[in-house]
């Protein structure tokens, strides 16, 4: 697929979890972890999803891979409706959609050598003969900047950054087109973060990869992403080109987020846009705009009606009455 065409489309994705588990009783409350999210990702680009804990960004990523079954919605990948696939067909499809997790220590089996971990997807998908796979594993380790001789070692022998490289090699094993990177550098020290971010960019160019990059770290997202979506309490509240979104954030929540990031420059000075309150501690559904209890610019209609996500400049969408009325 040539760059720039839509590789993945997500329509009105929802994932609800029951709250409280009374045996045999219907749950009274549902948490709308993902609540009607739509976006698309073009081939070759990196779309960032940012938001704070509980915003639904991780659940969105998991739903796309069907690691979590969505409640409703439609996900079209390379022309195929993923939610219509039978489990077997989905497993075959996963060759093309892979994932990198935050904590490679938790996602690597401590009793398997890293060579075996990287080889495992090749065995599952019956790729190559044994000697061919061994060659492939060494090439993959080299590809992510590890010594191929490390194949016989175990995860505990490596640092966090090296383990994340192993996680990336494993994700690349089946030559996927699309990778969901869920907080891939959040657990790493800053000096190592930069190494992994650079590696992800090099691999993207080398293999023509498309990324969905999920992170709460705004600076990393600005650095690596072509476009960024901002999520708040299960909703996509703003979506646009990275430059535009960081230069002129339209949604008050994006403005709050952007102005909350500490700047490693004591003389820069920054004007903070302050939220009115802390995020809600309960899962109760908020009527109107989900951000209205914290919004510094709240208007009357925000409390009763939910603003739709509208394109107000070419390629820049926002769900806010203030931004769309201006």
């Amino acid at each position: 697929m040539p760059d720039g065409q839509e590789l993945l489309q997500v329509f009105d994705l929802e994932k609800h979890y029951p709250l409280g588990s009374a045996l045999f009783a219907r749950p009274k409350h549902w948490v709308r972890a993902v609540d009607g999210v739509s976006f698309s990702i073009r081939s070759g680009e990196t779309l960032g999803l940012v938001g704070e804990s509980g915003s639904g960004k991780t659940t969105t990523g998991r739903c796309i891979l069907r690691l979590t079954e969505p409640t409703s919605g439609r996900i079209v990948f390379d022309g195929v409706d993923l939610l219509a696939l039978r489990p077997r067909e989905m497993r075959a499809m996963r060759r093309h959609l892979q994932v990198i997790f935050q904590d490679p220590y938790a996602s690597l089996d401590p009793r398997m050598t890293i060579g075996a971990s990287v080889e495992e997807p090749l065995i599952i998908h019956r790729v190559g003969s044994r000697p061919e796979r061994k060659v492939k594993v060494r090439a993959l380790l080299e590809d992510v900047g590890l010594d191929p001789g490390f194949a016989s070692r175990y995860p505990h022998e490596f640092s966090g950054g090296q383990r994340q490289r192993v996680g990336i090699a494993r994700a690349l094993a089946l030559q996927p087109k699309f990778i969901v990177a869920d907080e891939p550098v959040s657990a790493l020290d800053v000096s190592v973060q930069a190494q992994i971010v650079n590696l992800l960019q090099v691999l993207q160019r080398r293999h023509g990869l498309t990324y969905l990059f999920i992170s709460h770290g705004m600076a990393v997202v600005q650095h690596i992403c072509t476009r960024v979506g901002v999520m708040y309490l299960g909703k996509l509240v703003e979506l646009g080109e990275t430059e535009a979104l960081f230069e002129r954030p339209l949604h008050p929540y994006t403005q709050v987020l952007r102005s909350s990031i500490p700047n490693p420059d004591p003389e820069a000075g920054r004007e903070r846009i302050r939220p009115q309150a802390d995020p809600p501690a309960t899962a109760e559904r908020i009527p109107g705009c989900p951000f209205h209890p914290r919004c510094p610019y709240v208007m009357e209609e925000c409390r009763v009606q939910e603003p739709p996500l509208l394109e107000i400049r070419p390629g820049h969408k926002v769900a806010c009455f203030l931004a769309t009325s201006a």
Binding site: G161, V190, Q193, A194, V197, A219, Q222, S260, N263, P264
Partner: protein, 336 residues
């Protein structure tokens, strides 16, 4: 000049493990004036948390302070008997940790837990301590404190729990607050609120703050001075303004370069600067500068022995041969 509130001199805290001895804190010295704040920054395993725990003497069982001095309000805490140390803790020196959920007791209400030290340390009645707890919660900007005091920790959001921890920490009016990654587990909007709160308490109460963090951005905006730690040693120390404007140690320079920043249009770098290599194995630290194996400016002398601190400018100390530090040649000392 009055003597500083806290003065640490050549502190040595070692971990005694099955695999050998780790010099987690290896000759750390710094001081904090009354009402001042110091940011102690470094990556995981550099010894910054062990330094904080050494001050209040709440070290894990494997750790022991084997040398140096910690002078606080005229006393050397290393020599203080257990009982006066216990009275000091909470009362004169308080600490806040990264994860408030593990520091709060889930079976007591937040108000009860904030009132507890007031009963123990200040001999207040239960009733008076409770009222004071509610007042403290108001001071740390917990909305509706009278009702919130009756809540259990799980009923509060992460930010509210951290505020409750801070209320508890300041309840006996300490002179020094040690905050170990107080905002690392929190979302960025809440982080900003908590840091503002700490700044306000510092001004209002004349509190000194030791802020331990891995985040240079947090230090840049919230402390007067900064000390950068690497593999158990402070490699550079000075005012925030000075260190961020003209960092001297190659490690500090590298750290500042590799942090991605929010930039303005057209400024986006294609590639982030990195510090190549990894942190050395704590069991096999090199004899000289521990950063030398990763350092772009390393030279033969770096490996010869202990690197002495060098005064780069007023109040700005760096340990680096390439910047003027001399080397104490340990190998030669032994033969002499």
């Amino acid at each position: 000049m009055a003597e500083p509130l806290l003065e640490i001199a050549d502190l040595q805290t070692h971990l005694f493990t099955d695999r050998g001895v780790v010099r987690a804190v290896d000759g750390v010295s710094f001081s904090i004036e009354r009402g001042a704040s110091l940011g102690l920054v470094g990556e995981s395993g550099c010894g910054k948390s062990i330094t904080g725990l050494s001050i209040i003497r709440l070290l894990p069982p494997s750790a022991r302070m084997v040398g140096g001095a910690i002078r606080f309000e005229g006393q050397n805490l290393l020599e203080l008997p257990a009982e006066p140390m216990r009275r000091l803790r909470g009362r004169r020196i308080a600490m806040v940790f990264q994860d408030p959920m593990t520091s709060l007791n889930p079976v007591f209400t937040v108000g009860t837990q904030i009132a507890e030290p007031l009963v123990v340390h200040e001999n207040l009645s239960r009733r008076a301590a409770w009222d004071r707890a509610v007042e403290l919660m108001r001071q740390v900007a917990i909305p509706d404190p009278a009702r919130r005091a009756r809540s259990y920790p799980h009923e509060l959001s992460g930010g509210m729990r951290q505020r409750a921890m801070i209320a508890m920490a300041i309840s006996c009016g300490p002179a020094l607050l040690i905050a170990d990654e107080p905002t690392t587990a929190l979302d960025v909007t809440i982080q900003a609120e908590i840091l503002e709160l700490l700044g306000r308490l510092r001004r209002d109460m004349g509190l000194s703050i030791l802020l331990i963090t891995h985040d240079l951005g947090v230090v840049a905006e919230n402390t007067d001075d900064v000390a950068v730690m690497y593999a158990g040693k402070i490699v550079e120390r000075g005012s925030v303004r000075e260190i961020f404007r003209s960092p001297q140690h190659p490690y500090t320079i590298g750290l500042l370069r590799c942090v991605p920043r929010i930039t303005t249009a057209g400024d986006r770098q294609g590639r982030l600067e990195t510090i190549e290599g990894v942190v050395p194995n704590p069991f096999e630290l090199p004899p000289g500068c521990a950063f030398a194996p990763r350092c772009p400016e390393a030279r033969a002398e770096c490996d010869l022995g202990e690197i002495d601190p060098y005064l780069a400018s007023e109040g700005h100390v760096v340990r680096c041969v390439a910047r003027g530090s001399s080397v104490r040649k340990t190998s030669l000392d032994k033969t002499a």
